[in-house]
């Protein structure tokens, strides 16, 4: 078995005069190591200037997403062994501005998350004394979409997000669906107006790669197509039946 494996890491420091470059690092090749372990090894033992985000090491915090050999993955869940013999190329997530090395700027995503009102909206004022009950069946309607960990791998997989400035992208649309389908939520109509506007669902051409890379099986592509079906139904109701409710 090989002793070492090479990592080609994208390096960029905004304070340096030189532009971005790939730098090679040799790390021990261990069966039980994931990419994130190798990155931490580099940071601790070889080059302390390497910057990257990580937190939980167990696929739930959603902060260690990077492009590995061109594919967006959670680095805490990608074993070196699967990528042997190397070299392994590690880059920041695609389509996001790079702050430094493997750290991206996610402001656009955070803004969109707010824009789609990814929280429960009540038509009436919240009554804090009242409980909002929900059955397991009602929960199962949206549970899949609520598994999203905001890791943004789906953005990095979506060519439309790269091509169309303003497109909100897969995860936030799936999250809008997560709240639409929640029995306690009344924000459906409000979100539909947002989704029909510039940047919304109609940019999506169902490439489907977002669902392929999702580590939590959220299936954002499916969520968006369901949204389109609902949007089309609302459109025809509005135009054919002037008295119709959407």
């Amino acid at each position: 078995m090989q002793q070492q494996i090479t990592l080609e890491i994208f390096r960029y420091n905004p304070d340096d005069k030189e532009g971005p470059a790939y730098k090679k690092y040799e790390v021990p090749f261990r069966k039980d190591w994931v990419i994130l372990d190798a990155l931490n090894h580099i940071k601790d033992r070889i080059d302390g200037t390497l910057s990257f985000r990580w937190s939980c090491r167990m696929g739930i915090c959603g902060s260690c997403g990077m492009k590995v050999n061109g594919n967006p993955v959670l680095t805490c869940a990608s074993f070196l062994e699967k990528l042997a013999p190397g070299p392994i190329r590690i880059e920041p997530l695609e389509y996001f501005p790079v702050i430094r090395d493997l750290v991206i700027n996610m402001d656009d995503f955070m803004d969109n998350l707010k824009k789609v009102r990814s929280w429960i909206i009540h038509e009436k004022d919240d009554n804090l004394d009242e409980e909002y009950l929900q059955t397991p069946d009602q929960l199962s309607d949206y549970k899949q979409y609520s598994m999203c960990i905001n890791c943004m791998l789906c953005y990095s997989a979506c060519p439309v997000y790269g091509l169309e400035p303003g497109f909100m992208g897969p995860a936030v649309i799936a999250l809008a669906q997560r709240y639409n389908m929640d029995s306690r939520d009344d924000g459906n109509k409000l979100r539909m107006d947002i989704m029909n506007a510039e940047g919304g669902i109609w940019h999506c051409t169902f490439v489907g790669d977002c669902s392929a890379v999702c580590p939590k099986n959220v299936d954002p592509a499916g969520a968006i197509q369901r949204y389109k079906l609902e949007g089309a139904r609302a459109w025809w109701t509005r135009w054919l039946l002037p008295w119709g409710k959407e």
Binding site: P159, V160, L163, E164, N196, A197, E198, G200, W202, T205, K228, L229, G231, A232, A234, W235, W236
Partner: protein, 115 residues
């Protein structure tokens, strides 16, 4: 509102996609492949003519044709839009694609009307 009519076109795209996926392959298999290769005989003229002559068949055929064309128009518009990165031509692409689908449908309507 740039996206006001997207749901409208998308509806035709979907309906046409379903219809063309269900109907076209078998018709192509007959007229485009089996008949030219001589695996089966040409459908008889009189039989074919009498099958299509009733108004109901002609309406059905017209629906298949126009929806398939609208399906093409919407899909091809986005193929050009994203595939060739012609975002700045959005309006012209829409007019070109939907316009030609509608014109060809009108021609089909003319042929079937005077059948």
């Amino acid at each position: 509102m740039k996206h006001q009519f997207e749901p409208f076109w998308w509806s035709w795209f979907s309906a046409g996609g379903t219809l063309s996926a269900l109907v076209l392959p078998v018709v192509m298999m007959i007229f485009g492949i089996s008949v030219p290769f001589g695996w089966i005989d040409d459908p008889e003229y009189d039989k074919l003519k009498s099958l299509i002559a009733p108004v109901s068949s002609r309406i059905l055929i017209f629906i298949c044709i126009s929806l398939s064309l609208l399906h093409w128009a919407h899909r091809f518009r986005f193929t050009l839009y994203d595939g060739l990165q012609l975002q700045h031509l959005n309006r012209s692409l829409a007019i070109l694609c939907y316009g030609s689908a509608i014109l060809i449908s009108l021609f089909a309507g003319y042929v079937l009307w005077n059948f």
